[in-house]
């Protein structure tokens, strides 16, 4: 299983930080912890609650005294533990979590996923106009987001046709963001 922590080299580069106050620590790491939980499949509401719990545990345990990379690792492990506890009855939850962690380690561990999101933004622009608009409207990226039936109708497609268009677009996006990997 891949490790959630940044690479040893990154960890090694980190200097021990002075003790951060709780608010600074939360503001520094919140986006990454929340994003990590969302990538595990937590709803936005669940991610809020689990991130809150993870930060409380981490701060109680003195995470503010850790080097920044170790703080991130600590928070993500705690968040993972809490998320799996929430999903403990779901078949295959741990296997899926491992696969998510593998992707996280590959794509997001070093910068918390900022580059991945930025890459996706760029890759969207590389889609055909029709595919890009379909993605933007169906995934709430645009102000004129709408139900799929509406989007399909306006594009002159059956619902299955829209589904295929979105599947192809997602595949192209996947290939595009993976090409940025070394």
């Amino acid at each position: 299983m891949p490790e959630l922590a940044p690479s040893p080299e990154v960890l090694h580069r980190e200097a021990v930080s002075p003790t951060a106050d709780p608010e600074t620590l939360v503001r520094t790491h919140l986006r990454v912890v929340w994003r990590y939980l969302r990538m595990h499949g937590a709803s936005a509401h669940e991610a809020d609650d689990l991130a809150q719990e993870a930060f409380v545990v981490a701060l109680q345990k003195g995470a503010a005294d850790l080097p920044p990379a170790a703080t991130t690792s600590f928070l993500l492990r705690t968040a993972r533990f809490l998320f799996l506890r929430l999903r403990r009855d779901r078949r295959g939850a741990e296997t899926l979590a491992e696969a998510v962690d593998a992707l996280w380690q590959r794509d997001a561990a070093d910068d918390g996923g900022d580059d991945l999101v930025a890459a996706l933004r760029r890759c969207l622009q590389a889609l055909t106009e029709r595919a890009r608009r379909a993605v933007e409207r169906c995934y709430d990226l645009a102000e004129d987001a709408a139900e799929r039936t509406v989007v399909a109708s306006e594009l002159g497609l059956q619902e299955n046709g829209l589904k295929m268009l979105l599947q192809r677009a997602r595949q192209q996006l996947r290939e595009c963001i993976e090409r940025r990997q070394p």
Partner: protein
């Protein structure tokens, strides 16, 4: 043609894509979450005890049961005429025959931040939670444990109720710690790139090593180390799994290499066996190798899932901490025992 069941990897990619797309659409933590966290921190209740203590519950039950049986036997003896004067205490009950200690296995789960002890059937008989980034656990006698918490950069000695008896924290993400016979603690302070021996009575470092020296025909060559595992040998030398050098080295007290085996990429564990060979665990390669004094592989397990620890048992079998499980293999490499885990990194048979 039916669609195949999506793999975990495919599902993970879908989740990643969904999360990223949602974020491009403005998905973000609730604005008030920082305030909520700070408020919750103020109101946070005291931390729960770390130990589940099932073993203690069982032990207490046995003790109570023994007391009841003894009391009944004593009462019966009181009602039976004997040559013993009434004011004399009852004769002591004969000592029960010694029972072999039950075989249990200690496991550290890095992902679940948990240490568990399981019986031969895999049932959890004891657990300690909230050991963050636990990477090593060693039993100390019957009732204490030495814990190495990678994420907290901490080595601690705790009793089975989770009470911390000793702690050392001047570390940087350690992977391994052993209690030595002299009472000191030997620590692989992995990301500080040093091995240290700490006297727990003073918390002072009494020996440390940041580099090892190779003496050959030419000039001595000194290189830094990154120890992932360390053990003190009976001859006083120290065996180090050195991740920087992809090797296992035996050094004397001056740090001079007296034996080494190279070509061990991503080595996570090294144990000197009673026969003089060395058991090494190569995490990325998924292999456990037994190397002889010449560094030649004389036995191996392959196809393992990210192993990080392996122990040779007295029965000749080998116990391995793998990714999602711990497994025991016989000498022929046949699996003879397994315990599923989330992310098992250390295993120890008691």
């Amino acid at each position: 043609v039916s669609n195949p069941e999506p793999t975990a990897q495919t599902l993970a990619q879908e989740l990643q894509m969904n999360a990223c797309l949602a974020e491009l659409g403005g998905d973000a933590p609730a604005p008030q979450i920082v305030t909520r966290i700070l408020a919750a921190l103020v109101e946070a209740p005291p931390q729960p005890t770390r130990a589940l203590g099932l073993t203690w519950l069982v032990a207490a039950t046995v003790l109570v049961g023994t007391a009841v049986v003894t009391a009944v036997a004593w009462l019966r003896s009181e009602s039976t005429p004997t040559a013993v004067a009434p004011q004399d205490p009852p004769p002591p009950a004969p000592a029960p025959p010694p029972q072999p200690a039950p075989v249990t296995t200690l496991l550290a789960d890095y992902s679940d931040n948990r240490v568990v002890e399981v019986d031969a059937a895999g049932r959890v008989v004891f657990a300690i939670d909230e050991v963050f980034g636990i990477w090593d656990v060693e039993p100390v006698g019957d009732d204490q444990l030495l814990l190495t918490e990678f994420s907290l950069s901490r080595v601690s000695r705790v009793d089975r109720k989770g009470k911390v008896l000793w702690v050392y924290e001047d570390l940087k993400n350690p992977y391994d710690a052993d209690l030595l016979q002299n009472g000191n603690v030997l620590i692989a302070d992995s990301f500080a790139e040093r091995v240290i021996e700490v006297d727990p009575r003073t918390n002072r470092i009494v020996w440390s090593l940041r580099a090892v020296t190779e003496r050959g025909d030419g000039a001595p060559r000194t290189t830094d180390i990154r120890p992932f595992d360390v053990e003190r040998l009976a001859n006083g030398n120290t065996l180090i799994a050195d991740a920087t050098g992809d090797r296992v080295v035996e050094v004397d007290t001056t740090g001079t290499i007296v034996w080494q085996a190279k070509g061990c990429p991503n080595i996570h564990d090294a144990d000197r066996l009673p026969n003089g060979n060395t058991l090494v665990t190569l995490r990325n390669a998924g292999r456990v190798l037994e190397l002889d004094a010449a560094g030649k592989t004389v036995w191996s397990l392959t196809g393992l899932s990210s192993p990080s620890d392996a122990d040779r048992l007295p029965n000749g079998n080998t116990l391995v901490a793998e990714n999602a499980m711990a497994r025991e293999f016989d000498a022929a490499g046949k699996e003879v025992w397994r315990k599923g885990m989330t992310w098992c990194v250390e295993v120890h048979r008691r």
